[in-house]
């Protein structure tokens, strides 16, 4: 009785007992096994999908916000620079006209 069983012998014993089981029992066993495997797969996949989804959403969301902010900043800087440059040019020309030897009438229609 205390004889140590080899794994191969265990497998053979189980297979033999399997052939002796009735068909409805086998079907229920197979269903139970499939359900267990499906639950296991869900448990493993769910957190992975959730994490990937969150990460993707956050990254996309964050990225678009980041690009929008960067674009807004770039446009603001460019507009401000162009506006300042234009005003500076106008004022330079105004001073040049006002200090010119020729009277204003020469440049006015």
């Amino acid at each position: 009785m205390n004889k140590k069983l080899h794994p191969e012998q265990v497998r053979q014993l189980l297979n033999r007992s399997l052939t002796q089981l009735e068909q409805p029992v086998l079907v229920r066993l197979r269903d139970a096994r499939e359900q267990a495997l499906a639950r296991h797969a869900e448990r493993v996949a769910a957190p992975a999908f959730a994490w990937a989804g969150n990460w993707l959403f956050a990254a996309t969301h964050h990225k678009s916000r980041y690009f929008a902010a960067a674009a807004l900043l770039a446009i603001a800087v460019f507009s401000g620079g162009a506006y300042w440059h234009h005003e500076h040019d106008v004022s330079e020309v105004d001073v040049a006209i006002l200090t010119d030897e020729l009277p204003i009438e020469v440049y006015v229609d």
Partner: protein, 134 residues
């Protein structure tokens, strides 16, 4: 998101162009008041945009030569009475004239001075200018 950004940027740009608050004469400070003295009486009635341009121009005043300072103040009133469109065209003409070669520019200036001198002489003598020969 992009449309919102674009709208915001356009709004910002528009507000920058429009942002030119009126500066009352009393708030100019003694230095600016001295530079813009010829406009003292009409300053408060000038359009904000012109006020802003003149204030920009006034910043350069301390660096001008005495002769340039005199011309600047002499022309201020006439300049402020032009319409924005006239000032714009004057700037364009001035910039175009600046691109003419220096020798030709000097020649034009000489001719203008001669013309002015003749007008002054005629006005002083009281004789009306002769009609051009056809």
């Amino acid at each position: 998101m992009w449309i919102k950004t674009l709208c915001l940027a356009l709004l910002l740009q528009g507000s920058m162009a429009a942002a030119a608050p009126l500066v009352p004469w009393a708030q100019l400070g003694p230095a600016k008041q001295e530079i813009l003295q010829p406009l003292a009486t009409q300053w408060d009635t000038l359009p904000p945009r012109l006020q802003k341009n003149l204030l920009h121009a006034a910043k350069r005043y301390p660096k001008l030569t005495p002769e340039e300072k005199r011309r600047f103040q002499d022309k201020l009133e006439k300049w402020s009475k032009l319409t924005p469109e006239q000032r714009k065209r004057a700037r364009e003409k001035f910039q175009a004239f600046s691109k003419v070669p220096a020798a030709e520019r000097e020649q034009v200036k000489r001719m203008m001075h001669e013309q002015d001198a003749k007008k002054a002489e005629t006005a002083a003598s009281g004789v009306p200018p002769s009609a051009p020969i056809k």
